[in-house]
């Protein structure tokens, strides 16, 4: 395993661009995991010591440093409840103590703990790129193949919402995660790209697939009723 310890985020981004098969190493819960979605032969660029892990309010924005762990998000009083709930979708305490929100967002997994809730919250992503720092809507970030480092997530402070995970067990990868926040809906169903929008029937845009976590018909049905089920 080849590991690069970047001294700055700029250096990390440079390495990431220079090394074709490379990946950032933050909390390590995905990159170092058995059956990781990250290529096991990828060279790792360790940014764990470079990430801001703080959670703060700046004006009307809640700023969550990319290095903030899912557990610190779950425990932080500044964080909206539904975002905390999403962090808790990672059911393992030890894993939550290690997994970072930056890593979870950057991986863009279809069963990501956080993506649906953050999309519903209309989050923005602060990224360190070649050209310096950029801020993009999360909805845009996930559609691009960005090699930059996620530095922070920003959402409107006090945002209200709701998030729900359906999975075989608490520790299983999600079959479906749904979230709604102030009229914005998001659904991530395993095997399909995350869908979001202001139409409650966004599920109609999803091409559901059958996999270990359930049939396409089951997921489609769940997606069609999940927002009705909110109480």
């Amino acid at each position: 395993m080849v590991i690069h310890q970047a001294k700055t985020l700029e250096e990390a981004v440079k390495l990431r661009h220079e090394i074709e098969n490379s990946a950032y190493l933050a909390g390590g819960t995905e990159v170092l995991r058995l059956n990781s979605s990250v290529d096991s032969s990828a060279e790792l660029i360790d940014i764990s010591a470079l990430l801001d892990a703080s959670i703060s309010i700046d004006g009307d924005k809640l700023i969550i440093g990319a290095g903030a762990t899912l557990q610190s998000i779950k425990e932080c009083e500044l964080v909206p409840e539904f975002i905390k709930d999403a962090a808790a979708f990672c059911s393992s305490f030890e894993k939550r103590n290690m997994a970072t929100i930056g890593g979870n967002v950057a991986l863009k997994r279809d069963d990501s703990y956080m993506l649906a809730a953050l999309l519903a919250a209309e989050a923005e992503v602060v990224i360190e790129c070649h050209a310096g720092e950029k801020v993009k809507p999360l909805s845009v970030y996930i559609s691009k193949n960005c090699k930059g480092v996620v530095k922070a997530i920003r959402i409107a402070a006090g945002r209200k919402g709701w998030a729900k995970k359906i999975a075989i067990t608490s520790s299983s990868h999600a079959t479906l995660i749904a979230a709604e926040s102030e009229g914005m809906y998001a659904i991530s169903a395993s095997g399909s790209p995350v869908a979001f929008g202001r139409d409650r029937e966004i599920y109609k845009n999803i091409e559901f697939v059958s996999d270990l976590r359930g049939s396409a018909e089951y997921k489609k049905y769940l997606a069609s009723v999940i927002f009705e089920g909110r109480r």
């Binding site: 170092l32 359906i166 089951y218 049905y221």
Partner: protein, 957 residues
Amino acid sequence: MDIKCRINGENIVLIAERDERLRDVLYRAGYNSVRDSDDREGFAGSDTIVFNGVLKYSNFILAYQAEGAEIMTAEGLMNGREINYVQKAMVAAGIVQSAYNAPAAALILTWLLDKKPNPTKADIQEALSGIFIRDAGYEHYYLAVKLAIELRDEGEFKSEIAPSFRPSLDFIGKPTGKIDGAALVSGEPVFVEDKVPENAWCLHVLRSPFAHAYIKSIDTSAAEKLDGVAKIVTAFNCPDIYYMQAGQGNPEPSPHDRRLFNKKVRHVGDRVAGIVAKTKEIADKAAELIKVEYEPIAPVFTVEEAMADGAPVVQNGIVEYRAGAPADLDEYNKSSDERDGKIVYQFPLHADSHRNIAAGAHGGIGDIEKGFAEADAVVDETYQTSQIQCTPLEPHVCYAHIEGGRLVMNCSTQVPYHVRRIVGWVCQIPENKIHIIKERVGGGYGSKQDILVEDLVGYCTWITGKPIYYRNTRAEEFYANSTRHPMRVRVKMGGKKDGTITAIYMDVRANTGPYGNHCLTVPMNASSKTLPIFAVDNMYYDLLTYYTNIPPTGAYQGYGAPKGYFGIISCMGQLAMKLGIDPLMMAKKNIVHEGYMLEILKGLGEGREGAVVPVGSCGLEEALDQGAEMINWGKKEVSEDPDWKIGKGFAMIQQGSGLPGLDHATAQCKLLTDGTFILFSGGADLGTGLDTISAKCVSEIMRVPLEVVSVVSGDTDSCPFDTGAYASSGTYFSGNASLLAVKDLKEKVLVEASLQLGEPKEELELVWPGKIVSKSGKEITYSKLSHDALQGDGRGQMIGKGTFVTPNFAVPYGAHFAEVAVNVRTGEIKVNKFYALQDAGTPINPEIALCQMYGAAMKSIGHTLYEGMILDENGTCVNANFTDYGTPMIYESPEDFKSVLIDVDDKFGPFGAKSISEIATNGAAPSIAMAIADACGVWVRTWPITPEKILKGLGKF
């Protein structure tokens, strides 16, 4: 590189490769408590440490990241050799069982209590959310925290740990904690992996990518040329010895249908070559260089496929019989294929390998058709169970070396003497050349009843002379191990409006996979452990087991009974509903009671005619009554949320206590020169507390504290023979052998004391703590008695011997009740309440018994709702890891979970004890299925009962 850090308060320099996982480095540095159960999956939590004040998985930390870190492992909990207050509480609560994760759990709970001195249930759940406990469930973890707080704040345990039984006895029936609890919870090097020297060689198994194929050729020449490769074993150079891997009594009711390597592979993951190499890297390289030419054959995966006309034949070898060969055997063998090898039956199993039938049986009582004709209603349904993995935290593992010209094997096994026999067969060496040392077993659950790795490790060590260490990967545990036989159980049941069951018919079709391990006996259990609970005049069963190309099956806690109970109780529940009567009333009207003659047993022997015996001690009705009261049976619960529907269900259950007429246990108890004791038991303690039972026998009979008793068990050199720990035999057989050995020793002690004191033996009694007193007032301590007996003119060491065999059954009974909530919009299922009530006779270790009930019930809840191996169209298991497999964790535990011991004294068990653990896997599936049907009207008849199946049943899509 050197890594400077602080570990457990000491400045330490770790030596590591930069990219090594911290877990591996810590373990190598001697921190044995930091284990790995999941191959870095980040699931099981065996690798948990406190890293800079935070609980983390050390597998996800690279070694260099520990530079300057403050680390704590479970070793840091100790004060010298004394375990801390949390560890003491864990031992007292009974949760330290197979204990592979116990040190990590102790570390987690100590961390929690440091942060939150009085944690809530939610706090405890959160802290334990990343650690997998399979053996004891999670319920007594809450008790352990409570006890720890009491010990911390008040200096002693205040709460009741478990109920006590038999007031006249001091140790039996009392929660004393396990005698090996401190060693296990502290992380002492007690497992096989801890005994492996640095110079051990590696064994790597090259496995088949095909589910069914002939091996046309294997070219190992390039691999053999590699430096550091000692030997490569294949089907073309292995011994031509046929055996089976099932650890059963000899002659076994399983066919000998395999060699170490076969010219035909029969499942994805089947053995193709065994590579003995100096390092794993060399072995991996060698595996890449081996060229194998396969001739694929169409596979069969299901019973239906296997029984179809013209189906590919999985075992088409030449059939031989050791006894009972049919007259037309030569004719039968004409269509066999030499490349398939042989199938050797020890006695007829009613097999027909040409039709993929591995075993068959049938039998019954009464007139089944007459019974159905008399019924007011009949239900005829088919139930399908899935392939379930035992998931012991410690995978199958073995270390072997040669010492003094003998093969010495450190094993994690339930059956050390069967291991010795089968390794002897494979190596073609006598048993005196083999020494099996059963180490502590980090979870067995039946899968370590089978000799799945020891055969190959033993052979490779014997022929190479190399010390060899082998450990299954977690994935291999799924596809190259043993699992629950999937079964299709058809149950037809007829009943009258008054609740009388008039007839029961069971048609069991089991899937044994590629080999015939337990192919008769596991499926037999689906009937033999279910039908005898019914006092019904007309009962009949048919059984056929089929070979297929799924991953191997074998023993799993509960054996065939959980599958049988799923079918038979579900059918009874449906029949009661059809008749418009209460299922509980129907159950109570048709259950057996003490003294009822079990005619049905005649046709339910394991490959022989069974003995008809009366029902012995039986707490079944009391369990049903008490459980019904606890769960408010008959009261319909209604949720405030209209989406959630609530229902209740139950199952009455039984199992056995070993195999009367087949099992055999022996023990010896020695009085040492200072008046202390060592008991040598052939029994294999799997973390179940069997050694503690043996020790309690000594303490109770000889009137001495547990501290002066040591137990050595499962070591084939020093301990006498025992068939092993399976079929719930431990307490009944091995425990009875220990008791008999101690009673024999007592007699010898009294005889010697009589001589030394000059008093009649009849006037002597043993008096606490460890002396003999005569009616006339003379007394002598065990120490002096033993010392003087071992002088130059003494009469020798006092050694008691006990052998236990019996025709008598000690059957445990019980009832499990479930209350579930089903969301009719999403299909989600919550087990709100689960009550396990069991008659274990006298529970010798009541706190451990309760935890085994919790653990077994949790396993069964897992099988019912979440778990199941999934194969793709090629037969590859696609969820061969904990996460995708659906392993239940603490959040899957029922919100209200209770285990209750029904107090019944048994005539034959040691101090009235019966078995406890296996039976507890039988109730969840039927009780939950019934509760779901009660909640939403949907009967799901296949495992796992998923939200998707419920929604389909509700017609939602």
